[in-house]
Symmetry: C2
Subunit: 154 residues, 2 copies
């Protein structure tokens, strides 16, 4: 289904929750209650987000998590990458790209273009958009024509 993993889903929800109160520090326990998810799982997710540089953590009493930068500067692609690794539709879309079938494959180039277009789409959606309870209104203005399937230099 080309679905996000459940943890990624959680991550988005939690990030949105934090983004709605950007001033405060949010303890894992508090967040877990707010989003109605098991505490250890939320905690795990938060740690991944810290490691990816999307959140900063403060230990000790009165500690908790805060956004590392404004919600408008955190993208859906960032969140997905934090949990699942870089957005890439196929083996060969990744940097390492050690697929032994490249010779007989014949679709690698084109998949990579599609993959790039998807990444661009996801990079155009910010946490501020996601956290907004009202449906997003802004036109994204994706320059998809120039990116997706013509001369991509990847």
């Amino acid at each position: 289904m080309l679905k996000l993993s459940r943890l990624t889903d959680y991550a988005a929800v939690v990030m949105a929750q934090i983004a709605r109160h950007p001033e405060a520090s949010h303890a894992a326990t508090e967040l877990a209650e707010a989003v109605q998810l098991p505490h250890p799982t939320v905690s795990k997710t938060l740690k991944m987000l810290v490691r990816a540089g999307l959140l900063v953590s403060q230990r000790g009493a009165q500690g908790g998590y805060r956004l590392a930068r404004p919600a408008s500067q955190i993208t859906a692609a960032d969140i997905i990458a934090a949990i699942e690794g870089p957005v890439a539709m196929t083996e060969c879309s990744q940097a390492e790209g050690d697929c032994e079938l490249v010779a007989t494959c014949g679709v690698a180039d084109n998949w990579q273009r599609v993959s790039l277009a998807m990444r661009t789409l996801l990079e155009s959606v910010t946490l501020a958009h996601l956290a907004d309870t009202a449906p997003i209104k802004l036109p994204v203005q994706l320059p998809i024509q120039t990116i997706s399937l013509s001369a991509a230099s990847a």
Copy 2:
């Protein structure tokens, strides 16, 4: 990584292979050799593609598989859906949509919009594009602004 499953990847490769010789009937064995993949796996993939209506099969001697319609009328989304089910980024993006967290989630609507934009993107890429050994040149002209994040009626 928001990655395609390996079977989906195979499906795309096999479909492209068939698309390059649309006149002939292609036996599973022949295709397996052409793309250098284990025969039973290719066979399984082919069966799924038939069930999804993307291929038609012919039993008996000289039988095999052919495209059910021109390559230009089969999309990447079709192929993905044939193997993985409908393209949907989150639980709640699907028709059934029985996620109990909708209340506390707060990002469902917006994820659905993103999901829809991705689906549109994948629907704009045809098998003819994928099968083309040269990088795709055509501008896709996705009307993404009107679809992705503004008033979607889903």
